[in-house]
Symmetry: C2
Subunit: 185 residues, 2 copies
């Protein structure tokens, strides 16, 4: 499709090669930014409040070189911002930009599909203000709004151990407000 949509060739070249170049539509353009392997899981973790390279790495189990490349790509694309880590000289914090937080509906739609079509999830998402569980469209049925991630609390439906012992997995066993920095120490 090539109507009045214009392809920004930087996305194609840097993030996905030139393969999507002629797929000039909004959906393809979003996939140019988040369609690479692992990228949406990095965005998921950032929405959960992960900010440090070591935490992403421990929770995602991916090679450091791949993580580094994906984080750089997300910074270049304006999804994450890189800041110096005040607690560790020479290290960085990765924080979601407004455009990054707006990927929450994509992440939630993937969650819903899998919850309904693959296996029920142990996680649930509640609207922080009223405590109501979000519906399949990520809306709060009580308030009639679709809360942004910073107004959503994620918690486990059934409190169980789980085999993962990395700091992120451990911290996420407690209820946690999305996008709020995750305490992993």
């Amino acid at each position: 499709m090539r109507f009045d949509d214009r392809t920004d060739s930087r996305y194609n070249e840097r993030v996905l090669g030139k393969d999507y170049e002629r797929q000039d539509c909004s959906i393809a353009r979003a996939l140019e930014v988040v369609g690479e392997r692992w990228t949406l899981l990095i965005v998921r973790d950032a929405i959960y409040g992960v900010r440090r390279f070591n935490d992403f790495q421990a929770h995602l189990d991916i090679p450091k070189a791949v993580l580094s490349e994906r984080l750089n790509g997300l910074v270049e694309q304006g999804i994450l911002e890189r800041h110096p880590d005040p607690d560790h000289a020479g290290r960085h914090l990765y924080e979601l930009t407004a455009a990054g937080r707006e990927l929450w509906p994509v992440v939630h739609a993937l969650f819903t599909w899998s919850d309904q079509n693959r296996a029920p999830s142990n996680r649930r998402f509640r609207h922080a203000e009223c405590g109501t569980e979000l519906d399949a469209t990520a809306a709060c049925p009580s308030c009639g709004i679709t809360p942004p991630p910073e107004e959503i609390v994620m918690q486990l439906r059934h409190r169980r151990g789980g085999s993962r012992t990395d700091p992120v997995a451990r911290a996420l066993r407690e209820p946690h407000r999305l996008t709020e920095p995750l305490e992993t120490r």
Copy 2:
């Protein structure tokens, strides 16, 4: 994350290798099915009403071997069903299953993100019953419901040429009800 969610190892092995194996969460599980390069664009086209191998190929500009592999994967995963094509002996039609149609919110969320954060799209989606344009969450603001794709009409906002001349691109210049077979002859 590994709570009570179980990984179906078939997804990992067939679709993404074993890379996501320890990412045992609903979002990762959805990406195991649709996270491969091109897969969501094939699902997009199927939602637009594309059913024939040659039409996918002409519209997606991908190597036939890759398309064939992705279509096989989507059939294995229960997203598409393969039927004999009554008009062409030896060829097939690929039709979305219920699980495949339920990927519409994922596709729409990617559309919305890009429309708002990259470039405004020339497409719009209307609720067929009342004609109202869907909002950013894919809901109909008039009816207060989130219509399934078969109740949505896609059309161009501004009618323009566009440089693509393949049969799918040409057919999609007319208003078209999602999931309805696209007439490409």
